[in-house]
Symmetry: C2
Subunit: 572 residues, 2 copies
């Protein structure tokens, strides 16, 4: 049987609590306590500090009954991996597919995802990115309210379910990346403050106290996060992690926790013999995040760039509210495609300051880009996908821009067939007061855009149900047409050498007044009409149309492009 350990630097005594009663733990160095697990712990245990109430293990690997209940140790022999021949995935040549376990399949579980993996293989993506699966309150949620960062959610199938999913992905040649949240814990069920100085009030995040990674006691908090990353990558054979909102991880110490994390994950990668990818969500437009450590960077491998999304979204929808005020011209899109991000020390009206730093010299694969993702769809009052706001031609155009971009593209579940289902914000807080607060907050947030009564109730199970994909619809009509388009784009990307390229290997030309743009990648030119009327786009010389979203004609050195049309030329 295993040893149970817990860090509780302010406690004088600690006990492990099982169905058989309490067993005192030994005090060790620097605030740690340990004990040989009593046999009953295999069915569930908690920790009690100084005679206080039992609480789940902060590093609980499994909460079979939810956040506030017992923790369970993992049984190392319980799952037999069959991915021995898996040697990892290569991010720079990959396309990512973001999915939410609860709404992706009918079952809403890890096993449910497995049922649809063949669809992803046929689609042509390379990596599945899971929204956070760490135990969060209730049975339904996006996952960003997690409070047990080491435990795969019980409602999704727990540790065994996650292992089965990763194994199944690897057997189909798909890599798996997991979204992890290191900037805060959820508002309900967070027991960490009872155990130690995990949080600080020196800095503020939009979601509560910041995680303490640079104050007294922060060594162990950093260890907690870094061990967590290694736990997922090693135990569950994951291929990488997507780090949520790293700009809300406040670290003023000499060694940023992201730098330390990246160095340890690189070392783990060498040890396990396959690449392990760290992808940051950062709104700083700061090259330091992905610059190598020897160049003064943190050495994460890639980061999301929302600029491309915003540029495409504003052009295609005409929306200009909030931060969309910073976007809306063809020039914005051109800049995003050329440089990876638009704001590289440029005045941002929405931020009311200059923003970012030039990305010059970063290769394309440092940027993960999308025109739809859980945030951009789900953080709308009504959870509309791009196709709901526009039409099939514009959905095709957006797909072409992101899938033929010189970056790492990412799709969002159902995007590929223009799913009719929205992706709404849903929760399942057991605490009725918190549930009501979330409900009110949501209505308040969108009061300038939507009648409060029209904002779906996040706590209502129907809101979750409405967000579940309807797989049957992909087979017919415009859904099927769109799906075929995505497959063709992904096939072209793969077979024509259009994966993410080195810095400066592509060129963008555009005409603001005429609303066209041409992205040149080697012998390929992607021609886009970003307006509602037919356009003549000069491409200077002939070539062959190898893919087009609608009826396209070549006329001398020009391409005649239908409204919102996209075409790919090769040669001469």
């Amino acid at each position: 049987m295993t040893t149970l350990r817990v860090w509780a630097p302010n406690a004088t005594a600690a006990e492990v609590v099982t169905s058989a009663g309490r067993v005192p733990m030994r005090s060790e160095d620097r605030g740690w306590f340990s004990v040989e697990a009593p046999p009953e712990a295999a069915d569930g245990y908690q920790f009690s500090l100084d005679g206080g109430p039992p609480r789940p293990d902060p590093r609980s690997p499994w909460q079979p009954d939810g956040i506030d209940r017992v923790s369970r140790p993992l049984d190392d022999g319980a799952f037999t991996w069959t991915d021995a021949t898996w040697h990892g995935v290569h991010l720079p040549s990959s396309t990512v597919y973001e999915l939410h376990v609860g709404t992706f399949s009918e079952a809403g579980t890890f096993d449910g995802v497995i049922d649809h993996l063949d669809h992803l293989v046929e689609l042509g993506v390379d990596i599945v990115e899971l929204l956070p699966v760490a135990e969060f309150p209730g049975r339904r949620g996006w996952g960003y309210d997690g409070v047990q960062p080491y435990a795969p959610h019980h409602a999704y199938g727990g540790p065994a379910g996650l292992a089965r999913l990763v194994d199944a992905c690897h057997n189909r040649g798909l890599g798996v990346v997991l979204d992890v949240v290191y900037n805060h814990l959820g508002p309900s069920g967070n027991h960490l403050p009872a155990f130690g100085p995990y949080f600080t009030d020196t800095y503020r995040t939009p979601w509560g106290d910041a995680v303490n990674v640079d104050g007294a006691g922060s060594d162990e908090v950093r260890r907690y996060l870094i061990d967590n990353a290694c736990h997922w990558l090693e135990r569950y054979h994951l291929d990488g992690l997507r780090l949520d909102a790293v700009h809300a991880i406040f670290d003023m110490s000499a060694l940023h926790v992201l730098e330390e994390l990246a160095a340890e994950v690189d070392a783990l990668s060498a040890r396990v013999g396959r690449p392990l990818w760290l992808i940051a969500e950062s709104d700083r437009n700061d090259p330091r995040v992905v610059l190598p450590r020897e160049a003064g960077g943190y050495g994460l491998h890639a980061q999301w760039s929302d600029d491309l999304h915003h540029a495409v979204h504003t052009l295609l929808t005409g929306e200009q509210e909030g931060y969309y005020a910073d976007y809306g011209t063809v020039a914005h899109l051109a800049r995003a495609l050329q440089d990876g991000w638009i704001y590289g020390r440029t005045w941002s009206p929405a931020r009311q300051r200059h923003h970012g730093k030039p990305a010059a010299g970063l290769p394309g694969w440092r940027f993960v880009v999308s025109t739809q993702n859980h945030d951009q769809v789900g953080n709308r009052a009504l959870g509309e996908r791009l196709v709901h706001l526009t039409d099939v031609p514009r959905a095709k155009l957006a797909a072409g821009l992101v899938l033929l971009s010189p970056f790492v593209p990412m799709l969002f579940q159902g995007e590929e067939w223009g799913a009719s289902t929205p992706f709404l914000y849903f929760t399942d807080h057991p605490d009725p007061e918190l549930g009501e607060a979330v409900r009110r907050g949501r209505r308040e947030e969108f009061k300038d855009f939507v009648q409060p009564d029209d904002v779906p109730d996040p706590q209502d199970e129907a809101t979750f149900r409405r967000s579940c994909l309807r797989w049957e619809e992909r087979l017919g009509g415009e859904h099927a047409e769109l799906l075929a388009w995505y497959r063709r784009l992904l096939a072209l990307r793969r077979h024509a050498g259009l994966a993410a390229g080195p810095a400066g290997a592509h060129r963008v030309a555009f005409d603001e007044a005429e609303r066209w743009l041409v992205l040149e990648r080697g012998r390929h030119r992607v021609v886009a009409n970003l307006g509602p009327t037919p356009r003549r786009v000069p491409v200077g010389g002939a070539g062959e149309v190898v893919l087009a979203s609608g009826p396209v004609e070549l006329d001398g050195g020009d391409v005649l492009c239908p409204p919102w049309g996209l075409a790919v030329l090769v040669g001469p």
Copy 2:
């Protein structure tokens, strides 16, 4: 006459107010207002926003009557510089002398400092570092409560006085560095919040709201700071700035304001044709502060390293309270002398976390070191200098360690003769409530060390008076002996090529039990007995004693060193 400008982004209208009344200002781009100065402005002006009360100019270059009164423009022709042949000072080969204008001389003014410059030249230092001179409340203070960052304090002699001092220094071959405070403004007389978003509550400093260098409106706040640096360097011909507590400047944006500042000061340096030095006070032990920008650093030129001070102070006094708990062994001192700082990702008991990052590869001149400075002396309840806590032999030992170190040494006014005067904490807040709060805070801060009634009252002018140097005492007795020792050390440093060296060009050996340490710098060896009993120190081979703090003997390969003795050997 000049143009007056002010940034007031939230105001609808602005006026300049003089003895002749109010004159409306023109609204310009991005929240600026401007007006041709009316003739009466030469005698004093203020700004009024939206018809509100007149307030001093945030960029006031002169507050002839103190913080809350009128601002005055500078008359460009008022001072005739005579330092045309001055081409700057070379920090790496320099020794710095920190002084406080108010207590350095009998007059307590810039002109008073001039009276004693010949003493500094004879002593052998190269750079005068002035504690902050920006206008602060009242007539007496250390200067860290400044609220008019552009205005030399009126009680010190205002702009003309500062110009005379710098000119006089340059004419004697002395450089001048000014201490500037960019992390907060003083608690009284701060009018900036009325003008714009200069502050943020996203981060907390020990002294109040942090300066807003990364939020909405921060472009102009950064401009305010960077223009301030250039203002001092250019208008007053300064040779550098010492940036107070840069660890309390919170900037999470992609371009740290210190990096932007350093780049602009480097550009100014090229323009004015002389070196301009930026020296950070940082408690992060973070090489990024001084690493070149092309290596991912901010590119400041040097930073204070308090680790050497703490190592020497604990060894010589035996004090172990507070952060001194992290120091106290000969090994600590050896590490500080070898690496520049001790905590380079090392466990710090006082901080309860690992601290810093290795300084490996940084040349010695990146570190400014001292065994006494305004903080370490003045932030004691009774303001004791090292010699007050120990004795002349230990004062000589400390001086030898810092002045023969491979770093840039800094002395604190009066240290060189073991001044009998303390350096106490003193203020002159006109606001009686604030004065009382400061008084109470000081008694509270030291309640575990000193009877509250024994803590000098900061508001009492006598506390300031007690801190003023008594120049006559330096000529006699142990004061004169110590002064001669400092002169010999500085002469040796200068003439024996012992200025700050490249990384790795020196070696340290030590014996913890025997409490000796040998610092080897080329052909020179500095031998230190860090204990109260005579020691035999093995130096492996003969040599010549070129300097010793007391009676030293060579015996074979050993040096016989008196208690707390220091000797310098050269050769063989």
